[in-house]
Amino acid sequence: MRVVEPVVELARGLWTTLRMMFDKPVTIQYPEQKKPVKARFRGRHILKRYENGLEKCIGCALCASACPADAIFVESSENTDEQRYSPGERYASTYEINMLRCIYCGFCEDACPTEAIILGDQYELSFTDRRQSIYPKDMLIEPVPAGGSPTPQATEPGLYTRSVPEMKDPQD
């Protein structure tokens, strides 16, 4: 026979919820305050550049073949020393990602031999039209870094013969 305990247990439940009232709310007022994303967050893609402004993407389309959602479309063209976009023979003349198809798995990141495509921090992707969901190259590519010059660049012959640069072990 328990008389006090059942009542105490009901009261304990009530006390728990009452105590929570004086906790600090965990709410983040979203559009005004944003929580920083985690280091390995996979958001919108970014096409990277080298420090001198050349694009890292060499148009190999390995990302497109790795893509399980078939969201990436790449067309490549020949680089020349007068009109050089990226090191090596070829560059991506068309690079499109359909953001409605993309599942943000990050396989393109892993497939890329030059670490040209990176899934960034941006997650506020919205559009009012299906056609706006296709992000072309000029939306994806990052701005020219300070000290670099925009592509196409005129470069010395024989300087950029290698497509894939020397790379360290990937970090993070």
Partner: protein
């Protein structure tokens, strides 16, 4: 003079109706805010400062929503049901006094709308009418979920109305009258200069039964069986939309306010409080504060306890609350007679014996549940 009386009634009725309707709107905000705080959230805060305009935004949204009537529904009853539900909810509080009478500019003003000598009976009977609205809403929708919700609701409300009525009986016995004004007057004053003579002090278990039964009466969690989403989608208002839904929703929240006002009046001393004799306008303030606290209790319980199973709800109503409240009526009657015939101090028999009765009830529930638990193993 007669004309003045009519004007007074009209003004008081209008004011009280407005208080209930605006109170309904802001009760939704109050509930959302309180629930949010309990769940470590902030709650609505976008529409106006602290979300003050949120109820208005909700109302505008509901008004502009499309109103659907199922093609096989019984159109007349389908339209009538929300009205039948909302009208009793609004008129039920007409007998609740909000303050002592006073003279203003040579005019004697009573702070209540109606003074019926069977006030408690009026409350019980009008409250029962609301069940019709709900069961008719469920039936006329021609939807099995709505039907189930309506039936559950009516069964639940009828079952708990008995416990509710019997918990009122002890208050009626203590006051010696069914008139709300007498009940409030009987709760005026203090014992030992600081314990208010509220009936909650004399009959704590009866008050507890009242509070539990009201939760079932207004279909609030943890007794919100008619709206058990997992089982019945939305219960009796599944097929309702637009303003008709708003009316059913309003009835539910107005009933919450009404039942809190009644509880505050019958068990928590009504408008009684410090200095209310000198400043009669403090009366409505005390009633308001008591209503707010009782409403907070309802929200708090909703945030704490999970919904109980339907058969257990019925078993609790019939097998626990009904015998217990009958026992309380008996204890109250005996205590009153003892205090009148033998010694006024023997009024203490009522709280002590009722707490003992409640202890026996708790022990019996515990025993039964544990025996069932043992049998299952």
């Amino acid at each position: 003079m007669n004309f003045l009386l009519v004007v007074e009634w009209l003004i008081k009725g209008f004011v009280w109706a407005m208080v209930l309707l605006v109170g309904f709107a802001y009760l939704t905000l109050y509930e959302r805010k309180a629930l949010a705080r309990i769940q470590s959230r902030i709650g609505p805060n976008r529409a106006g400062p602290w979300g003050i305009l949120q109820p208005i935004a909700d109302a505008v949204k509901l008004i502009f929503k499309e109103e659907l009537t199922p093609s096989r529904a019984d159109k007349l009853i389908f339209t009538l049901a929300p009205i039948v539900t909302v009208v009793p909810a609004v008129v039920i509080t007409a007998v609740v006094p909000w303050g002592p009478s006073f003279n203003i500019l040579g005019y004697h003003l009573n702070l209540y709308i109606a003074d019926i000598n069977v006030g408690v009976l009026y409350i019980m009977s009008v409250a029962s009418i609301a069940v019709y609205g709900i069961v008719l809403a469920g039936w006329s929708s021609n939807n099995k979920y709505a039907m189930m919700g309506g039936l559950r609701s009516s069964a639940q409300m009828i079952s708990y109305e008995i416990a509710l009525g019997l918990s009122f009986v002890s208050a009626i016995l203590l006051a010696g009258s069914m008139r709300m004004l007498d009940i409030v007057a009987a709760q005026g004053g203090y014992w030992l200069h600081f314990i208010p003579k509220w009936f909650v002090m004399l009959q704590p278990v009866g008050t507890g039964i009242f509070l539990v039964a009201t939760l079932a009466e207004v279909n609030r969690a943890p007794f919100d069986m008619p709206e058990a989403e997992q089982e019945l989608t939305a219960g009796y208002h599944t097929e309702y939309s637009g303003m008709k839904f708003a009316l059913l929703f309003m009835a539910e929240y107005v009933k919450m306010i009404a039942i809190s006002a009644i509880g505050a009046t019958v068990f928590f001393g009504g408008y009684n409080g410090p200095f209310v004799e000198k400043f009669p306008l403090l009366g409505p303030v005390y009633v308001f504060i008591k209503i707010i606290l009782l409403l907070f209790g309802m929200i708090w319980v909703r945030a704490t306890f999970p919904r109980i199973r339907y058969d257990r709800l019925m078993a609790f109503g019939w097998k626990v609350l009904l015998p217990l409240s009958l026992a309380l009526v008996f204890i109250t009657a005996v205590g009153i007679i003892l205090s009148q015939q033998v010694n006024p101090m023997l009024i203490l028999v009522i709280p002590l014996a009722s707490i003992l009765a409640a202890g026996v009830a708790v022990a019996l529930i515990d025993h039964t549940l544990r025996r069932k638990d043992y049998a299952r193993r």
